[in-house]
């Protein structure tokens, strides 16, 4: 097609293909994932009658809520082609800090503020290490993971802190109008995340930084402060998730967040956010978290030996990204 300057004919496909073609990339990947989620629910409800009961659905939603809160912060980080391996350790430290303060001062507010701010500070530290000291995100957050674990172990000395006031425990295991509280939080932060990513200037700048950081910098976008912002949000969300964990488990110990980091990253990847940056959505991450939790819940209900769970999780992550490569139009990075 010659490089003539005449505006070429508007997209000529007719019918549904045009409709599908017209959908921007991110909407297509979300639609595909919703379909996969629906099929999964159908299969599970056929396979085990205990699946499609309200109590199980609420149970799945609550488990997915915790995973989503952690993964939502991570989504922004991965959008900038970065990574945060320290979220699990962040949850551990923030939870123990909050637990100690709630027990010590007896006031829930102080504990909650402590948990959130510790998460935020850890996130900011990650951001500064990556932007000012210029250490690759993978290694910076890996180092931070060890430092945080060390601090938590030193701080907790192997103790566990248990038994918290019912008011605090409500945010983790409480019900309101029959629906677990964390599910509301999931809804609220899904909205905040969507609005922030799609409907604010900073969100657009984060997508641009992920797509081409040098072009963003040379367009006057403050790349460094956006990166610090992204890691700070990821840290803060880990702080929030730690509070809910604390409330739900009703006790804090050294390795509370240990097993959360990889599932959270998996949820983001299954949700369609690309590791190369610039592509992805918060809605996708929610669906990713739901798919991951549903599969594990289904396996438990069908009493499939727990040993198979890591195998299934691994296969799903690869399949999700493989289908993405197929559907994404010519975005061979």
């Amino acid at each position: 097609m010659s490089d003539s300057l005449r505006p070429s004919a508007i997209n000529s496909q007719q019918g549904p293909a045009a409709l599908w073609g017209a959908l921007p990339d991110s909407m297509q990947s979300v639609a595909l994932r919703l379909a996969a989620l629906a099929i999964l629910c159908l299969l599970l409800s056929l396979a085990s009658e205990a699946f499609f009961t309200t109590s199980n659905i609420l149970n799945v939603l609550r488990q997915a809520a915790l995973l989503f809160l952690l993964a939502s912060g991570l989504t922004l980080v991965i959008l900038t082609a970065g990574l945060d391996l320290s979220v699990g350790a962040n949850v551990a430290l923030s939870a123990c800090l909050a637990a100690t303060l709630i027990k010590g001062t007896g006031s829930i507010a102080i504990g909650v503020v402590a948990g959130l701010s510790s998460g935020l500070l850890i996130g900011i530290a990650n951001g500064l290490l990556i932007t000012w000291v210029r250490i690759p995100p993978f290694i910076a957050t890996y180092g931070m993971l060890w430092i945080l674990h060390g601090i938590t172990y030193w701080f907790m000395k192997g103790e566990t802190i248990h038994g918290f006031p019912p008011a605090f425990r409500a945010i983790g295991s409480g019900y309101w109008l029959g629906i677990p509280v964390p599910v509301y939080l999931m809804g609220v932060f899904l909205l905040i995340g969507l609005v922030f990513a799609q409907r604010t200037r900073w969100g657009q700048e984060i997508y641009a930084v992920g797509a081409n950081p040098e072009a963003a910098r040379l367009s006057g976008v403050p790349v460094k402060s956006r990166l610090v912002l992204v890691y700070a949000v990821s840290g803060a969300m880990a702080g929030l998730a730690s509070l809910i964990f604390l409330a739900r488990l009703n006790s804090a110990e050294g390795d509370i967040g240990e097993s959360l980091t990889l599932p959270a990253i998996a949820a983001v990847l299954i949700g369609g956010t690309s590791l190369f940056g610039g592509v992805g959505s918060m809605l996708g991450t929610l669906i990713g978290a739901l798919i991951l939790t549903l599969v594990l819940n289904g396996m438990n209900l069908l009493a499939i030996n727990a040993n198979w769970q890591p195998v299934v999780t691994g296969v799903i992550v690869v399949l999700a990204v493989f289908f993405d490569n197929l559907t994404r139009k010519g975005d061979k990075r």
């Binding site: 391996l85 290694i139 060390g150 601090i151 990253i265 030996n305 690869v318 490569n325």
Partner: protein, 326 residues
């Protein structure tokens, strides 16, 4: 442990020049020297030959998986599954060793299981174009699950003496694992700097398009790099099984991150095919010295955990600082 300076056909000057050019980032070298000086100053038992041999032997397993990890990272790739593959090959090797009473069939089984995982990783990345982080995160899960399924959580015992010999045995006074590690390093050094495959690894990371235009079947070599990763996990399983004289479903989980940290510590960068094998060796030793030193001094174990994090970030800071200045 003096790094074997023997090199095959190339003149000594090219080797030294290569160290100067690609070895520009010496975060690992300075950290290693710093740690040794500090620990030998604080406790007299650190700088004893027994302890140094001790560190080297302990670091063997990590070195055996850090070497292939260097090659994979040089092709702008990553292998998160190598720790889990080492675990499943440890279990396989133990089970076969118990059945056959010998070591050779067991080693063969472990190497082939490792090769299969490597082939799967390579095909996912090279043929299906799935990002390495995602592909190997997938196989990490599969390998971890398989290890649990094979043993149903129980550890495999009754390992014949012939397997344990590979850790406890010595040859000419030097523990066997050290021979394995030194030999493997030499082979990797030869492969990377003196064979076509080595040049193609630099090319896979530096300019993949150029390699295919030169008429080379890039897919084959790209998959081969991941197969080397899998096979090395099988070999490392031999030393690991000999060391813990059993197969355990969670023996080496998480070791992949130690390997990646050691490689990064050693100055191999994540892009443009910039790699330095000696750096990885230094990185592995730095981690080993740190842990041993802190144990020697009896430092509170919580401080030990944080110290590893500081070590990684310190070394990278040195590189970033030198990188900016150089």
């Amino acid at each position: 442990m003096a790094e074997p300076l023997l090199n095959l056909s190339a003149g000594a000057d090219t080797w030294l020049r290569r160290v100067r050019t690609s070895g520009s980032s010496s975060g690992a070298l300075m950290t290693l020297i710093g740690l040794c000086v500090v620990f030998s100053w604080i406790t007299d038992t650190f700088l004893t030959s027994a302890n140094l041999v001790n560190i080297a032997t302990q670091s063997t397993v990590l070195l055996l998986i850090a070497l292939p990890m260097t090659l994979i990272i040089m092709t702008e790739g990553l292998d998160l599954s190598i720790g889990a593959v080492l675990t499943v090959t440890n279990v396989v090797l133990a089970m076969v060793a118990v059945q056959t009473g010998g070591v050779w069939w067991a080693l063969l089984a472990a190497l082939s299981v490792g090769a299969v995982f490597g082939l799967v990783n390579g095909s996912l990345v090279a043929r299906l174009g799935i990002p390495p982080f995602v592909a190997t995160l997938g196989t990490l899960g599969v390998a971890q699950g398989l290890a649990l399924v094979l043993t149903d959580g129980q550890s495999v015992v009754g390992i014949p003496e012939s397997v344990q010999y590979f850790y406890s045995g010595t040859l000419a006074g030097v523990p066997l694992p050290l021979w394995i590690a030194a030999l493997t390093y030499l082979v990797f050094h030869g492969v990377l700097y003196h064979t076509r495959f080595g040049a193609y690894i630099f090319a896979l990371g530096g300019n993949r398009e150029a390699l295919s235009l030169a008429g080379v079947r890039t897919q084959v070599y790209w998959i081969a790099v991941y197969i080397v990763g899998g096979v090395m996990a099988g070999l490392a399983a031999l030393v690991l099984t000999a060391r813990i004289s059993s197969g355990h479903p969670t023996a080496a989980l998480g070791m992949e991150f130690d390997a990646i940290a050691a490689v990064a510590l050693g100055g191999t960068s994540f892009e443009k095919g910039k790699g330095w094998l000696l750096g990885t060796l230094l990185g592995v030793l730095a981690v080993g010295v740190m842990r041993n030193g802190l144990n020697q001094v009896g430092v509170n174990s919580a401080v030990q955990v944080s110290a590893i994090g500081f070590l990684v970030i310190f070394a990278l800071m040195i590189d970033a600082y030198r990188g900016r200045r150089a």
